[in-house]
């Protein structure tokens, strides 16, 4: 078992509330995002997260450290959320997670490029991204726009971009937690970032987009 995990597990087994509280707090956002891939509402996702922690405690003695503690907890969450999603009659977005490239989705609207048969610049920008005013990029309002754009993404994309860009997880951690291939993780991240950039552009330069 990895050393940090071994310490965490030992502290939990010893009944250390602070350790438990800090784990529960710091993983709450990501757990909720991932749960929302499988269940229809935020309220149900919150229940799934609660249930996950109870299961984690129940199974902690069986944790052997073959994966990281984080991966293990997220696997339990995914299983819990899938079961709950089925009960709620939610169709699982298997293809969205396992084969996202099957449904093509361009990063930038095709109409913003010159056509393939353009004599000079086939596939070149016809409407390139406008300059975004730097001082507005750092405004609190702009952050709120990005937060809303992430929340409006398809749930799988929202989960991947939240873990990677909001939480700062590595691609490996995200692949492990969601049981995704590297390629599919990149496809989902790519689409999520493209949509969020689009939202940012639309907000900062509404006359163009």
């Amino acid at each position: 078992m990895e050393q940090g995990d071994a310490q965490l597990v030992a502290a939990l087994r010893a009944g250390d509330e602070e350790t438990f509280r800090s784990l529960v707090r710091s993983w709450n956002g990501p757990l909720l995002r991932v749960a929302q891939i499988f269940v229809p509402s935020r309220a149900v996702a919150e229940e799934v997260v609660q249930e996950t922690w109870l299961r984690v405690l129940g199974a902690l003695d069986k944790f052997e450290g073959r994966s990281s503690l984080k991966t293990w907890v997220f696997r339990i969450l995914v299983n819990t959320a899938k079961t709950r999603g089925q009960r709620e009659g939610r169709l699982l977005p298997f293809s969205a997670l396992n084969d996202p490239a099957r449904i093509p989705e361009p990063a930038v609207e095709p109409g913003r490029f010159r056509p393939e048969d353009d004599p000079r610049y086939p596939g070149g920008w016809s409407a390139p991204p406008p300059e975004l005013p730097e001082e507005r990029l750092v405004a609190a309002e702009t952050r709120a726009v990005i937060g809303r754009a992430i929340a409006a993404l398809p749930a799988t994309q929202a989960a991947v971009i939240s873990l990677r860009d909001v939480e700062g997880w590595s691609s490996e951690e995200v692949c492990n937690a969601l049981d995704l291939t590297e390629v599919n993780q990149r496809v989902l991240l790519h689409r999520a970032r493209a949509r969020v950039r689009q939202a940012l552009e639309q907000y900062l330069t509404p006359q163009i987009a």
């Binding site: 707090r25 991204p129 969020v196």
Partner: protein, 85 residues
């Protein structure tokens, strides 16, 4: 953008994540960087994606509600006392 460029802008925007993730092969990477060096539109696109990532990293995540935290801590206490008995 120059007309001898093998990577078009439309292709480049689809490679941006692979580029940032270090997942481009050597040939694609060279074409990507050559295109970027001469194309203001794509340079700006990449810049904006980087800004998007940067700002995303400053967002705060969903806090656990005090109720939920209380419930979980209660469960933890029960669990801890049951397992030490």
């Amino acid at each position: 953008m120059i007309d001898t460029e093998p990577t078009s802008c439309q292709e480049l925007v689809e490679l941006v994540t692979d580029y940032l993730e270090g997942a481009l092969g050597p040939g694609d990477l060279r074409r990507f960087e050559e295109h970027l060096a001469v194309c203001a539109g794509c340079e700006r696109y990449l810049e904006q994606l980087r800004a998007t990532i940067r700002i995303s990293g400053t967002l705060t995540v969903d806090d656990l509600s005090p109720d939920a935290e209380r419930t979980l801590l209660g469960a933890f206490r029960d669990w801890a006392s049951a397992s030490t008995v």
